[in-house]
Symmetry: C2
Subunit: 335 residues, 2 copies
C-alpha cells in the first residue's frame, strides 16, 4: 500500500515534478512522458495523498457541518441540500453531531478549525456567551442556520420566517372564524420555534382582539408525544373547549390529532388543528394537515451558496429569510 509520487516517478523514469504535472493536468508535459506516467499510475493503482497536497496548498476542500442531531427530517433535508451544492463545487462535508449537547458545539468549532476546513455551516440551537467568544475568534467563514443571531455576531444567518409564518397561519385560523385558539409550543430557550412562533401567534390574536385563557397554552418538547400530552392537558383543563389548535410544529400537530381521535373528537369538525413545517407525513395523515411549508432543502442550498461566496471573500450581510407559504388542506373547518 501507500505508493508515493516518488515511487511513481522512479517507475516511469521521470521526476516527481513531471508526475505532479500529469496528476494535475498541468501543461508543459510531453505526450510521451504523460502517457508513460499515466500507464504506471494505472498499473500500480496509485492514488495521490491529498493530505500532503492540502498541507502544501494550505487549504482543504472540506466544509464543516455542525448539527444537533442528524436523524430529523428538518436537518437531514437541509444537509441533503448542502451536499447538493457543496459537491457540485468540489467540496466535501465533515459532519459533526453534537447530540444536543451545547458544549460539544464549541469543541467541534475548534476541531473543524484544526482540520482547516474552508468554512462552517452551523445549525444553531441555543447560543451562550462562550459560543459567541469561540465564534468570534474562530477566524473562518461561518454561516448560521436556524437561529437569527445576526444582531449579536457578525455572521450571515439563514432562517425561516418563523414570526411571520406563525402569525399568518394564526390569522388564517381567525379568518376561518375561530375565536378560541389554543397553543401547543416548545420551551423558549429555542428562539426560532419557542419564542418567534409564539410571538406570531400571540400578535395575530391580539390584533384581532382575541384573548387567550391560560389553560389554552401548553409548552413541551419537540416530540410527537408532547403534542399528544399538550392536547390532553388543554382538553382536560379547559372549561370551554377551543375550536382550533395552533401547534408550532407538524409533529406536535400530529400528536394532538392523535389524542383528539382517541377521544372521539372529529378533526376538523369538532376541533381544527394546524402545524408548521409541511413535513413528509403531513399530507398523508387523515385529515391532511393544514400547515406552513418550509423548504429545508432549499435553506441548506442557500446557506451553502452564501458560504461559498463568503469563502471567496464576498460576505453576505445580515440574515436571509426563507420564503414560506400556507398549505391549506383538510384540518381546518370554516365556522
Amino acid at each position: 500500500m501507500g505508493m508515493t509520487i516518488k515511487e511513481i516517478a522512479k517507475l516511469a523514469g521521470v521526476s516527481k515534478s513531471t508526475v505532479s504535472r500529469v496528476i494535475n493536468d498541468a501543461e508543459h508535459v510531453s505526450d510521451k512522458a504523460r502517457k508513460k506516467v499515466q500507464q504506471v499510475i494505472e498499473e500500480t493503482g496509485y492514488i495521490p495523498n491529498s493530505i500532503a497536497k492540502d498541507l502544501k496548498r494550505n487549504s482543504t476542500n472540506s466544509i464543516g457541518v455542525i448539527v444537533p442531531r442528524i436523524n430529523t427530517s428538518t436537518i437531514s433535508s437541509a444537509v441533503e441540500g448542502i451536499s447538493n451544492i457543496m459537491y457540485d463545487n468540489g467540496y466535501n462535508l465533515l459532519l459533526t453531531n453534537t447530540r444536543l449537547d451545547i458544549k460539544e458545539e464549541i469543541k467541534y468549532l475548534e476541531l473543524l478549525k484544526e482540520k482547516r476546513v474552508s468554512g462552517i455551516l452551523f445549525f444553531a440551537t441555543e447560543l451562550t456567551s462562550k459560543h459567541l467568544e469561540t465564534l468570534n475568534k474562530i477566524d473562518l467563514p461561518v454561516v448560521v442556520l436556524g437561529q437569527d443571531i445576526s444582531e449579536i455576531v457578525d455572521f450571515p444567518c439563514v432562517i425561516h420566517d418563523d414570526f411571520n409564518s406563525a402569525k399568518d397561519i394564526a390569522k388564517y385560523l381567525v379568518k376561518q372564524g375561530h375565536q378560541r385558539i389554543a397553543y401547543i409550543g416548545v420551551q423558549e430557550y429555542d428562539i426560532a420555534v419557542g419564542q418567534l412562533r409564539k410571538k406570531g401567534y400571540a400578535e395575530a390574536l391580539t390584533e384581532n382582539n382575541l384573548e387567550v385563557p391560560e389553560e389554552y397554552l401548553y409548552k413541551g418538547d419537540f416530540s410527537i408525544n408532547s403534542g399528544y400530552e399538550g392536547m390532553k392537558e388543554i382538553i382536560e383543563s379547559s372549561r370551554q373547549l377551543p375550536t382550533a389548535v395552533f401547534a408550532v410544529t407538524d409533529s406536535l400537530a400530529l400528536g394532538a390529532i392523535k389524542y383528539l381521535k382517541e377521544r372521539d373528537y372529529q378533526v376538523p369538525e369538532d376541533i381544527s388543528v394546524v402545524g408548521i413545517g409541511n413535513s413528509d407525513i403531513s399530507s398523508w395523515i387523515t385529515p391532511e394537515l393544514t400547515t406552513v411549508d418550509y423548504d429545508h432543502l432549499k435553506a441548506g442550498e442557500e446557506a451553502s451558496k452564501i458560504l461559498l461566496k463568503y469563502i471567496t471573500g464576498d460576505k453576505f450581510k445580515g440574515k436571509l429569510l426563507m420564503d414560506y407559504h400556507i398549505i391549506e388542506r383538510e384540518s381546518v373547518k370554516k365556522i
Copy 2:
C-alpha cells in the same frame, strides 16, 4: 491568521519540540516551560494544524461514509448511530452523498482513499462489477450496510434480516386467518427490499398452500405515493378483493392506507395492512400500523464497532444479521 508551532515556540522562548510536547500532553516538560507555552497559546488563540499532524503520522482520524441520500429516516438514523460510536472513539465523519447515482459511489470510494480515511462505511444499493473491482483494490477497511454482498466480496456486511422478517409477518397474517394477501413491493434491483422481502412473503404463502393471483402483486418505488397507487391498482383490478395487504415498507403501507380511507374501506375491518420498518410515524397514524421493527440506529452502531475492530486488524467475517421483531398494533384484523 495561521499561527504555527514555530511562532509559538519563538514567543514562548522554547523550541518547537517543547511546544509539540505541551500540545500533546507529553512528558519531559518542566512546569515552567509548560506554563509559559500554555499562556502563549491562550493569548494567541493558536490552534494546531491537524493536516500537518496527519501527514506526519500517516493516518487521519476520519471515517468515510457513503450514503445514497441523507434525508431518509432509515439512513439518517443509521448515521446518527454511526456518529455516536465514532465520536466516542475519536473519529470524525467525512460524509459523501451519491444522490442515488451509482457511478458516484466509485468516485467517492476513490475520493475517500485520497483523503486517507481510516475506514469506510458504505451504504450499498446496487452493486456492479465496476464496484467490486474498485472495492477490491481500495485497500482500506470497508463495512457494507444494507445489502448482503459478503458472498461476492470479502468485506463484513451489516444487514437487516429481510427474508425472515418478511416471512414472519406474512405468516402472522396467515395466522390471523387471512388467505388472500396482496403484495406492494419495489423493483428487484434492490436485493434486500425488492427480492428478499418478496421471497419471504412468497415462501410464507406457499408453505401455507396459499396462491397469489397476478392482480395482487404490485411493484413501485419507495415513495408513499407508490403505496397509494399500488393499493389503487390492486383494488381496481381484483375480481375478488384481498383481505390483507403486505407492504414491504411502512411508507408503502401508509400510502395504501391513505387510498383505502379515501375509498371508504375500513382498516382493518375491511382490509388489513402491514408494513416493515417501524418508522416514527407508524405508531401515530390511525389505525396504528402493525409492522416489523428494524433498529437502524443500532445497525449504524454495530457497523461502526465492526469497522473500528477491522481498523485495528480484527476483521469480522461474513455478515451480521440484525435482530427484528413484529410489533402488533391495530392494522390487522383477526378473521
